[in-house]
Assembly symmetry: D2
Homo-oligomer: 435 residues x 4
């Protein structure tokens, strides 16, 4: 996470101020439950909310105490006592540090997921808008980087929409994975705290009680969360790579928006480089990389070790902030993408009818020519186009063996572009529904 690739709302989730506020809420809600159970005085719980609820925690002061005690939760509680006064002794009763830390981390991840879901919604909206705009914009489909058959630019974007819809479902699944709360004590037995405290805090913080925590919330949940971010980042990369390809000098079917006054290069002023999508390609590599230590974090020793902590201090912010930035950047790219239908058409026409070879092949077999022969016939005419720049239609019409199987009209009909777009409505209905 570096400022260059950060947006403020996501950064704020990971600030010390947010963290201490969440810690306070966990502790204060726990006090309410403890008071309700008669473990601590109700007065005390009320005082804690009254004084702590409106307090601004002094982060420098907490850091100072931590430097001494080398323990972050104790540092916070000590500072809280400075604010709350003697009733502070009722705070954290029967709890262990991880009850606060792990529940807080999950609250942060859930909030991060909510921002990412909003990011995905914005991206989906942009994709949908542009998909419908270019629903009928003919372009060549490419496999292996080689011209295959026509499709439309709208279909390309509809595919991306479908892909990011899946990403959204995955993120909803992942969010649910980490939306749990643990207030279960030193090894998770609730020896010193009633399970009802956990239930209360979970409810108030928008979480579910963790099925079995063992001081810590099990890290398979977090692994799942971060691998989903990695998969989403991979889809970001896919669309970014598509734009980079389309912007290549020789292709130039689309371009990232180029702001007036923006300089592409200090040396080559004519250059308009797809720097945003190249940047996204790199950011995707980072988010993907964070999935690994998240998976290595799962195998903690016995009831817990703390090796996961340093990893999460880094990847918690790094992965969510980077993906948030990437999704927003990608949304901007899609939203403002300069699309050049004429170039798409020009590129499509490059091989003078060769894109229709598949149809001709099929027509020949349907006319009774064996698959092998049909292939040979199509191939020999295709090669003339490829090697000598001939026109595919004319060559076919002049090929006696082809004509023996197909009439001129039948051949000409195979070169109708509408043939390829006749199911675009079906595809759009699958992606966006019928309405």
């Amino acid at each position: 996470m570096i400022p260059r690739y950060s947006r403020p709302d996501m950064v704020a989730i990971w600030s010390p101020a947010t963290k201490f506020r969440i810690w306070f809420e966990i502790e204060a809600h726990a006090c309410d439950a403890l008071a309700e159970l008669g473990v601590i005085p109700k007065e005390a719980a009320r005082t804690i909310w009254d004084k702590g609820g409106k307090a601004t925690f002094d982060i420098e002061r907490i850091d100072q105490i931590e430097a001494e005690t080398k323990h972050d939760v104790i540092a916070f509680l000590t500072h809280l006592a400075e604010i709350v006064g003697p009733e502070a002794r009722f705070v954290h009763q029967g709890m262990t540090s991880s009850d606060v830390l792990d529940t807080c981390f999950n609250v942060q991840l859930v909030r991060a997921a909510d921002l990412l879901l909003a990011d995905l919604d914005a991206l989906l909206a942009a994709l949908k808008k542009r998909a419908f705009e270019h629903k009928d914009t003919i372009t060549i489909g490419r496999s292996h980087g080689i011209h295959a058959e026509p499709t439309t630019f709208g279909v390309k974007l509809a595919q991306a929409y479908a892909e990011f819809s899946r990403c959204r479902e995955r993120l909803v699944f992942a969010r649910k994975e980490v939306a749990t709360c643990a207030i279960s004590g030193a090894v998770g037995t609730f020896a010193n705290i009633d399970p009802r405290v956990e239930e209360h805090v979970a409810d108030k913080m928008g979480l579910e009680p963790e099925t079995v925590s063992t001081q810590v919330i099990p890290r398979d949940r977090h692994a799942m969360f971060f691998v989903v971010l990695g998969v989403i980042a991979s889809s970001v990369e896919r669309l970014a790579v598509e734009v980079r390809h389309l912007q290549r000098t020789e292709v130039l079917e689309a371009e990232e928006y180029f702001a007036p006054g923006q300089k592409g290069s200090s040396a080559m002023p004519h250059k308009r480089n797809p720097v945003l999508t190249e940047n996204l390609t790199g950011l995707a590599r980072m988010v993907r990389a964070y999935a690994l230590p998240a998976m290595e974090n799962v195998a903690l020793w016995h009831e817990r070790d703390i090796s996961h902590s340093s990893v999460e201090r880094m990847i918690g912010p790094d992965a969510t902030v980077t993906l948030d930035f990437a999704l927003a950047r990608l949304t901007g790219v899609v939203d403002k993408l300069l699309v050049y239908p004429e170039t798409m058409q020009k590129n499509l026409d490059r091989f003078r009818g060769l894109v229709h070879s598949q149809r001709v092949l099929l027509a020949l077999t349907q006319a009774g020519v064996s698959r092998e022969d049909a292939y040979r016939l199509v191939q020999r005419n295709a090669m003339k186009v490829w090697e000598q720049g001939k026109d595919f239609l004319e060559e076919l019409l002049a090929d006696a063996e082809v004509r023996a199987a197909l009439s001129e009209d039948e051949i000409r009909e195979k070169f109708d572009i509408g043939y390829h777009t006749k199911h675009v409505d079906t595809i759009f209905a699958r992606v966006f529904g019928r309405d």
Copy 2:
């Protein structure tokens, strides 16, 4: 995937015989749909099923044709034509190779997922059995590898049960991700084949039609599948590491089953090494590693490139076969694990009451001692146990400052082990339900 770490059912899914059988089914179901639509004669479709349905495909012959044509699907279709005769020309009409390859790959992954789900069920059953068996077996809970508070061995296993239940849900999710079918042609526009063919084949093969395929089924689906395997493998590692720790010479609270006649070491016959769980630790690393190229596969160029193919030829079998083997091995380990409750008790008693320090601390604060003072009182007595081998209870009873806050009975009551297990029923109910 190597024989040593393979089980036959999963291996069979990836055999050439299975693959060609699935290819045949896809082609033959497509013929049915094409016949229904009037594109090919119904007779032809019937002949294809009749002759192909009972044929054993000659893998060597197919390989031989492929060596010549350098194209696997053409090789298969050529061989199929040798079996079916002239009606074979109606096979694969309007389809592209990937329609067959991708749909087949997904069928294989779905079948693999079904085996893995069965593996997880077996593991869950073993965990449940052993968890109830040891529901009340007292053992020390450890954080940082250091004794913390008592728990039960059953709770440890219940945690694992809860974790693998989550793994099961993830796998169900992942299975759904890849349960799709594409019969959509060269760039996914259905130009040469009616979408109803896809719908029919999907239905017959137990799949859903892919929302938008572009010759290929989008690889974010497969990325999701393989990262979930990676997360499951990480949970396998966690339980494996737990067993390895428990079997350490100094701990020895449990051991992998040691078959009579098994030799632990050529040199040290007394050794019983946790080789199965060490092996599982390594296998988990492998399954996790496969998640990476799966994510890198997502960003194919334009409508498709074939870079994913070599990756999937390897990780398809490697990841599923290895995880299948690992889950089965882990189930065996759990099922036959030798558990030593006496050693658990002995280890628990090692520090003469020190595990109860948290309770004493809490009692002191509840008796009105400030948190800081209570901590100091507990710590100074704890240190005598730690450093001089004193008995914690006796030291506390002899500490005037402690006794000023707590009576002898109150102190003694803090050393009751039942205090720690009182919520085990609650935990078990959360994990296994109340019945």
Copy 3:
């Protein structure tokens, strides 16, 4: 490692036959040293060589014994005893299984490295040949996928040559890392075997004695080996991606060799797909992935655990066989690459002189125009070329502000392509030396 992506020499290194032969050599050399030290009779050592040296080990028999004893080295030694007779009792004296296994693994890795070095030499030779062939073949250099300035195709290949020369150095370094031998006993103390045995075996097997082994050879060595393979694979990917880009329909400056009779696609016979380099892109992902578990293998517990073993049984063959195949395939691609200089020139001319903008910019500043003004002048003329298809040279000549700074001759001189290639000799001398 699957047959499709395997070559026989590398596969042979990992065969059971090779493994048992190496095991035998290690044991027999150790016997020589033990005999020399007077620990066992010289007669015995001689008999072991005589009978074992010419024996073909019966792999099925060994497997059968292992199934019983569950220990591979004991199984081998038992079988060896069947061949050698009573003198077999002198074999393996004071040794531990890992002495044999780890030394054998390193012998295999060293042999694999030797094959890979030969692969790299072949690739370097092909690159050098083609680099000199195209030393003066003008082509456009591209940054961000966008035309930048001219270079030559030979320079592109020279860069690849330099990169793979570095890969070669890295592999030499990595080979040295794993070229060690351990015959040091159960925890590496040489308690039961004289260090001179290790020295003798190391010498005979072409290895160095391991500085400190602890039953096992430390796995940081192997991690280093496999990460180097990952880096080499990444360079394979780079060159593969370059070819894929050059073969794109719109670029088509080079193509993978297309064998007569080879079919690119069952449906589109005109297609020539860069399937070899796409395949290499996928294989690179695999080799890179294997680096991870290799690094995770380093942190074995205490003197050793066996978690590394399952990983190495897989990545040992998988990584080396795959990289061997990839390097050989890449060599073939380079060697037979179809290069189209006319298309290169045509693409270069696409923007009618715009590639010379940098020179004009420089000339303007050298003529006293401020950087900002020069940039503005170049940019305004460049935009006319870009947007209206004007000729850059003509526009510049017609721009009064430009002409105020530069004469017609001065401007024309900036469009000389030789300007860009004047240091190609220097670059080639750096890469290939001056001879």
Copy 4:
């Protein structure tokens, strides 16, 4: 990179101030060379050094310009012009932004490598000191977490010393990989700048001219750099895991230094947790993870794309700062490690002589007992120790079949601990040399 896991010297390398200073030096040295070649006036070069050399660059001002121009190098050059005045027009002549950026990045990596080398030296010194201190401290060697044979704690540390010595060599190798300079223009042809400028700048900045750069320095170099950091991190993890194991409650042979006043846990004051080495375990996962995007960065498109840049902005600081912190922390752990020889002895004696089983086995075979029989004899007595807590020596002495082969003295002699340590000098000489 987060403050918690950062040290100032390494952080300073990545500060904007350092970066702009390096940029200035590259530009100013280039001016010197350009002046020497007569391209720009010598006066100008001198002025640039005079004014820029003592200037403090205004980072906010540069950020402000970059926000406008969206180009960092232009922003810097614009600010430099504000400082230097009209002579600034001679700066950056014929250069491209990457000439500055890439050379600067390599300077930063080289400086980072120098700090890391110093870190390794400090770690090696600490390891050496402690290794000699405990050269003869007997401890049990463990394989699979199970007692094997005795070794010394010094040998353990000597192993670590040897491992980190190898890490040092790797880092020297990696440092050399990235110690290159590129001043070669837009596609690396030196069209606009004489190669002698590159040579001069390289020399002044302590680098080698890059063999072939193509606007960018090829990223295989950086991949190699970061994978080496990943391997070093894995060795950090190994030693960290060793300490964590030794500090386990049941083992407790060593402990991280525990500062007076440090609190291990808010709830269990007796706990001394190995939090530093657990933390190192996590940090190692992070450094290892960064190796992946570094490898993915290699395959840039054509002469360059900028996808590597966002990755490097993150992993450049993150990997070096984290590893620097980790090495320093590990040095502190080693230096101050509390070692408990008595506990080591007590653990060693746990199985009443069983650690000598290997010697007895060997003695039996040397006395003419067959391997199979010897194994059986040792095993049956060992099992009595294991299962009934008998004394191994006594059991052997009482076993008639054993006594038939070995006398009482011969048996007793096998229980001499000195037998296991007799080659410690040899091992130390291998590691530390003979002096």
